[in-house]
Amino acid sequence: MTPPLSLRRSAARWLGLFVAALMRLVDWPMRWLQRLLGERRMAYVFLLPNLVFFSLFVFLPLIINVVFSVTGGTALFPSERPYVGGGQYAYLFDCDSFLDPGSCREDHFWRGVANTLRFTTFQVVAMVLFSLVTAVVLNMRIRGRGFFRAVYFFPVLLSPVVVALIWKWILQRDGLLNAGLTALGGQKILFFIDPGWAMFWAVFVSIWAHMGFYTLILLAGLQAIPADLYEAAEMDATPRWRAFWRITLPLLWPNLIVVIVLALIRGVQTFDEVFVLTGGGPGTATLMVVQYIYETAFSNQVQNFGLAAAASVVLGIVLFGLTLAQLAASRRRSA
């Protein structure tokens, strides 16, 4: 029920007074600071609150993580952890062949790496293709365009855990899909027992959940291409596929780069959806690097913070490298 008008007016007046008082209170120290630092340096004062939070919750954990990666033992506080130098890294990289996770001392990590690579490759390629096709179709003058745009974007609003649970209900042994299959006279398929199916559905669910976001980016890019370019192409007797290949794709390239980079980063970081959907199984068939890090640090009986931190640093470096490479490609293309 809406409060009465007089109450709302009174609340607004008090709020106004409060804000005015607050501004008065802030005014004199800010003036004093500006006199002390000069107008140019005042920009840093305004940036300071955000910088403090960013430092506390991003930079500091980053540094602590690097410190942990060169220490050993099970103690939580860095001061109580013995320094082991590059020992954790040496342990991680102790492999006869990097192509064969089984030959590595920490084979779980390398299985996670291999699975993440596979997952990310399939996911990024399929995600970009599906998002592009969907964006192109949603950009056409089709009936119910607004409805379909909303439908495709809707899964983005869901929590990854909710997404995974929805699909788990559909795909599990006695789930909706198997109920449908048996109703049609087919056999049940144990999607989460078969390694191939488990990886397929992990990729599929991830695409289903995030495709709307990437479609939106590409749709914005498509809408930014002037319509008269296509009319000029039509006058130039350009076949549709050639107009797409020679006009749409090059002009959409900056958006595609954004989509590829974001999908790549999100793919490498994948954890919650797959963890809830398959738990990394069957066996280690869908174990991702981030799940390995989580389990090594927090879930295993012996909590190996040092090893998990070292794996995090490796993952961070890979992500950083990937992003730099993609940005360089994007700059070269747009130059």
Partner: protein, 360 residues
């Protein structure tokens, strides 16, 4: 090059009809300009010819062949867009070669055509540049070059100069006229600028609210406008259009004072009939000492050096513009008497239709 025939072209968007039964024949090699105010349907008509819009009724024939149902890509026409519509990621060369690649021409043929057009349009030094590295005028020339290389049946121009500054517009206008003389192609050009229309066209089509008001050579439209709209639209400054009443057989009375103006011809209009008298600013002269004329109070004087414009008012009449050769000493507040050259007077009936000597 080709001739074009539009027969009964009508275009509706839902319940709104924007083009009303337009009939037009454009001869081979002719430069025809569609002119009219914003929203008159000139661009829509051009897009219909291009094949970018479908007709609601009517037919389009190019060289006698019906192309009404054919898509733009199969009509063999080239269009220069108002926004240029250059492909921003392609070089000037690629922009011009793109359509030729679509036609499946061999690389040496494409190269020869692009370089020939580039030389014609002084673009040879810019062939490797992207459109964003070109000035507005250069972009416009690339857009024209893209049309030229295709050797189209008809060139279509949709307000191609409207994004250029005044000086460049004049220069490009001259280039276009030169290009038409050189190529000899059939060209259809859309503009809202009647100066462009007058200077470029072999024939002008004046449009208003989706209807053709008049078709004719620039001087036919200037000298013998069919109606008030054309009279007011063609010519700059515009024709003075003054409400009047028929007074006797060869005269009309103007304004509150009922100043009689001799038409220099007999009319069959009953006395008192409401008409509009049209006279261009250059056909009004100042009466000499003791000569009778329409009294006007000068409100503004524009001195352009070689010519001067007086803007003034007379009781019961809209503002009158007078063009004088050379320089004038008249200033604001001066009272002058105006003499109208009878041979250049235009008379329009209450419906706005011209009353020509044979009809009036």
């Amino acid at each position: 090059m080709a001739e074009l025939t539009l027969s009964g072209i009508t275009k509706s968007f839902g319940a709104t009809t924007v083009i009303h039964a337009v009939d037009l024949h454009v001869a081979d090699g002719e430069f025809v300009v569609f002119v009219g105010p914003s929203g008159c349907g000139k661009s829509t008509l051009l897009r219909i010819i291009a094949g970018l819009e479908e007709v609601t009724t009517g037919s389009i024939a190019i060289d006698g062949a019906d192309v009404t149902g054919r898509p733009a890509s199969e009509r063999g026409l080239a269009m220069v867009f108002q926004s240029y519509a250059l492909y921003p990621h392609m070089s000037v060369y690629k922009n011009m070669a793109f359509a030729l690649e679509n036609m499946g021409l061999k690389a040496p043929e494409i190269d020869a055509r692009v370089r020939r057009a580039a030389a014609m349009l002084r673009l040879t030094d810019y062939l490797e540049r992207k459109p964003k590295a070109l000035s507005g005028g250069q972009r416009q020339r690339v857009a024209i070059g893209r049309a030229i290389v295709r050797d189209p049946k008809i060139f279509l121009f949709d307000e191609p100069l409207s994004n250029l500054d005044a000086e460049l517009r004049v220069a490009t206008r001259k280039e276009l006229a030169g290009l038409h003389a050189e190529l000899g192609g059939t060209m259809i050009y859309v503009t809202h600028d009647q100066v462009e229309a007058m200077t470029l066209a072999d024939r002008i089509v004046v449009l208003q609210s989706g209807r053709i008001e008049q078709i004719g050579t620039p001087l036919e439209l200037y000298n013998s406008p069919d109606n008030l709209f054309v009279a007011g639209f063609i010519g700059s400054p515009r024709m003075n259009l003054l409400p009047a009443r028929a007074a006797g057989q060869g005269a009309v009375a103007l304004g509150e004072a009922g100043q009689e103006v001799e038409l220099g011809r007999e009319t069959a209009l009953p006395a008192g009939t409401s008409v509009t008298l049209g006279i261009r600013p250059e056909h009004i002269a100042l009466a000499g000492e003791g000569e009778a004329g329409l009294a006007m109070t000068v409100e503004l004087v524009e001195r352009l050096g070689g010519e001067s414009y007086l803007y003034g008012s007379a009781p019961g009449l809209p503002q009158i513009t007078v063009r004088l050769d050379g320089q004038t000493s008249h200033g604001r507040g001066d009272r002058v008497a105006l003499r109208f050259a009878p041979a250049h007077l235009h008379l329009f009936d209450a419906a706005g239709k011209a009353l020509r000597p044979d009809r009036a």
